[in-house]
Symmetry: C2
Subunit: 391 residues, 2 copies
């Protein structure tokens, strides 16, 4: 009996918009994303708010309510937002997803309603996962409030939570309905969160865009001075490069084994875990990129002057490039406490062949399928001595 | 700052194959679906088995092991399969998903490994959900073992589990890696399971293919006699029509409000719930189709002779078309115990506007956006008296 070969394509599209004062009644961006149908009940909006962010914006939900009332918006705002802890804690805690699902059920949120997640990358990941699985997907509006969430975590097609101590063990590939970046949230970030997101911009510049890397070098001092215009430009270009990659890579849902945007991330994910998440994701990424750049140089791929520019840029932005966890059981790659065990965890998550992005030069990444652990130990040593040099 | 409009398409493709003796060592179908890469560890296969099916095939896992050893197949078979209860019980019980996720984690199943689910539609739904969320999606091979699973539940792009008493409250749109239908499993089905799947074939014939409906009429007696050739033909054509719809509808992931393949299903889902899942899904679908067909006629859409052919076919196949739950609180549509509450539950699950498929004639469905509850009560009455007529 004849085999039936099924094949079809699905189109996905969404806006990634940039604004200031998203919930000022005169700002039409948010309400323009809500589809209203004549003669039908107004669509529902349920908010998921990041507890960490709320400390700096305690009146946020009141402002959203006022926005609904005064902007001429047409949606039903569910009266009780869901509040979840910020940072990796919410991804580690199964009750955060449960809380959001309970609220979705209680408010009768359906596939044409809107879950609006406002916060850092972790909260958006958790809310995105709940939105991805409830009713097989309710609409998700992401309102990222940190540099890293705006230029990296929120632009893409993934969500996830950590289970069994494994980062993003559960998650889905689900596109958002819209991503609305409000730069005003950046004013209240502490210095660590302001800085942390810069490493994702350095990452994408390194593998894709030497011109952007030069812009980052030119502006390094401005980032340190919290210059908002420089940061806005960084975020926009970084988001643009991520979106372009997803759009043109030919594998947006990662069915293959390659994941170039995860340059530096295999070590970063492992370092977050080894430090008990005391490192911010972006801080860990900075170290991950630094050590993989040193390794790229030692392996004869990356010219020395390029390596120097990379390490220099991280230093000028204020990143620390060494933590003692880099050296824990460094000679025992099969021990879970070793950074090198992160290679196997990374491979396992994606499946298939180990594929690690390294650098050929600034602006050009290259995939390799093996890491020489002896050389890697050497790279850690180089980074450690670099870190000890006077700035 | 300029809004970035993201858009891309993702291609999905998979084979739906038909065979007998899938795990006979001479049968190459299963092993042909496993991608082996030279010089790499063999891919892993973890089995999820339906406890109900295992009663009739207690040696199935031994046979799979023998298949692996004797067929020249190249895969690592994980030594301990996951066994979950068959039927809707597994979709209602959160521990079934947990069991599968635990096994995925323990066996280090990655995105390039294979979860192989063997059983009825419910078990395949549960396993599919676990496969859809673990590592954001591991490969799923569906081996459906009932008529309904082979001709309907397994061919599509959905999975799901029931939470908060709501059918498929959690789930994802995820395509399988392959669907392998082994007709040999049908020999051991009891008469209810053999029959139940026929209603999905009647459904898709009614909304899409009058010629297929005539084939079903001609063969009704053969299905009752458990004629395998007739049933194989029914399953193949039914699967084909479902796949064709998914491929050509323009909305495989149901972003809109229309869901034509769910003709008769709003009432069916509610009846399953109201009868405490004592009705098989296919049995409930038969009643749902029957009452919606009577309603279509009373609403002036469906000619009387078409209605008579429909009811006649169900009777000749041996379906019961009436259960007392149809009349519970029939005049109180807002009560959860009323079949009519199923309309709102159906709308809520899909979101947006209520969209119900009805019939214009045999072979042609039509979407409506309102149901006249008075007329619906009348339809239930008509069905009740029809059921009382001597066959």
């Amino acid at each position: 009996m004849k085999t039936i070969r099924q094949n079809f394509a699905v189109s996905f599209n969404y806006d990634v918009a940039f604004t200031e004062g998203l919930f000022n009644p005169s700002n039409k961006l948010f309400s323009s994303q809500i589809q209203v149908t004549d003669n039908k009940p107004l669509p529902k909006v349920l908010c998921v708010l990041d507890e960490g962010m709320l400390q700096y914006h305690p009146d946020l939900f009141d402002r959203i309510r006022r926005y609904r009332d005064e902007s001429g918006s047409r949606f039903q705002l569910i009266g009780k937002p869901v509040i979840v802890p910020g940072g990796e804690a919410s991804k580690n805690d199964p009750s955060a997803v449960q809380l959001i699902l309970d609220a979705i059920e209680e408010a009768d949120i359906d596939r044409h309603s809107y879950l609006t997640a406002i916060g850092g990358g972790a909260v958006i990941d958790v809310a995105g996962y709940a939105a991805g699985i409830a009713h097989r997907g309710v609409r998700l509006i992401r309102v990222p409030t940190t540099v890293l969430a705006q230029n990296d975590a929120s632009v893409g097609v993934k969500n996830g939570v950590n289970v069994y101590g494994k980062k993003n063990f559960l998650g889905t590939f689900t596109t958002p309905h819209a991503v609305l970046n409000d730069f005003e949230f950046l004013h209240t970030l502490d210095m660590r969160d302001w800085r942390a997101g810069i490493s994702e911009a350095i990452k994408v510049a390194l593998i894709k865009d030497a011109v952007f890397f030069s812009e980052l070098e030119s502006n390094a001092r401005l980032y340190q001075q919290r210059d908002m215009e420089a940061m806005k430009s960084l975020i926009h270009r970084c988001a643009e490069l991520h979106l372009e990659h997803i759009r043109t890579s030919g594998d947006p849902f990662e069915m293959g084994s390659s994941r170039p945007l995860d340059f530096g991330h295999w070590a970063a994910h492992k370092l977050e875990q080894l430090t008990g998440y005391s490192l911010r994701h972006g801080e860990a990424v900075a170290i991950g990129i630094a050590v993989d750049s040193v390794y790229s140089h030692l392996a004869g791929m990356l010219p020395e002057e390029d390596l120097e520019r990379i390490l220099e840029l991280f230093k000028r932005c204020g990143f620390d490039l060494y933590v003692p966890e880099l050296e824990h059981k460094l000679d025992q790659p099969r021990q879970k406490e070793s950074i090198l065990h992160g290679l196997e965890e990374f491979r396992e998550h994606l499946g298939g062949e180990l594929t690690i992005m390294l650098l050929e030069k600034i602006g050009k990444g290259v995939n390799v399928h093996e890491i020489d652990t002896k050389l890697y130990r050497e790279a850690v040593g180089v980074l450690k001595s670099f870190e000890k040099e006077p700035a």
